[in-house]
Amino acid sequence: MYVEISIRDEVLANLVELARTDREFMRKARADLEGALHEYGYELTADELAAVREFHGQTSAMSDAEVNRVLAERASSAAMRGA
């Protein structure tokens, strides 16, 4: 049994790098996420866009260090409940 799942790892990795290093991009993304993605040449699939929207909505007001701290806390609790 095999289920084909296509995820564009390079696109997601590049986007994470852009969000962490380009303040202008983040400023624009906070105002208009989809507009900023389009302007920087990102044409995301529906799943990718939904994931980015969720991630952005939860973390865009945080610093890099805060995002890592929050994700680490959630990862620890996920591990404890055996996710």
Partner: protein, 332 residues
Amino acid sequence: MHEWVERVFASIDELIRTLPVPPDHRELLRVHLGVGRDLAEANPELPAIRLPLLVHAAITGDEIPALPVAGACTLLYLGADLLDNLLDDELPSVWRRRDPAEAYLAATTLLAVAPQLSIARLREQGKPPGRLWELSHLFARSLLTMSAGEHEDLLFAGRTDVGPETCRAMTERKSGSELALFARAAAMLATEDPTAIEEYTSFGWCLGTAGQICSDVGDIWSEGTSRDLLNGKRTLPIVHALSTLRGEPRERLQGLLGAARESGEDHEEVRTLLAEAGSMQYTALVVEVYRHRACAHLAAASPREPAGRDLKGLVDAASLVVTGQETNDTSC
């Protein structure tokens, strides 16, 4: 103990009680069933138990007919769990009084033999032999995929040339296929509609992969020593950092990963380098993509309530970004 956990373990107890083997062998199999019972008591949402029951209820409105399938899934899960404990040298204390060879024997029986016998009990519900053969074959094929994924996981240890796509494919085979089996087996029991069966299979595949990646991140970022770093495992955050960092930082990470296999002393520094590489954020984003895909497959299957809501709860638990209360997700 939750009602559904009690029902599944009662079904398993009945199966073990009637096995045509000497009492000592029955007792051997019961050792790890006790471990599983404790685990399920602490985590009643354990997918091996919960997922088949919920999928069956989502299709038919009733979870009771899926008890033998949930029993089969739980037995397979416990066999795989015991084998993992043996490979990682982390046997629960109840096994310490016994020869490890006995634990290997119990793991093999739980993994490969007991699920088939639990499936065979569906004859009592009047299921036709053709359906039972299909279910039996499904367990065999899924176990093969899981085994290939576990093998890749072992082969990748310590390597620096594994890319994110290869790592994800390994995780899908190792863990996505296991939850795909749990969901598909219940769906096959509940309906003959091929579209519904495929949607629930893909749902399980995405849920299992997302959950495993969350658990891998949790292993690295939990307090103290990481078991995966000690074992040289190439989980997604590590693979991302190795494929993103260049020059001196990459060499430093490679050196630290080597040292991290000897003791926990360097594990905090590995975590710092992974954070600097953005590996946590990348991994959380990948998990979100799997989670949204799981939601989309669940929505396409049009589950009955309240099982649909409970299945959505399992998806929300497999996220690094949101909790069930916070989700903005509208795709489920």
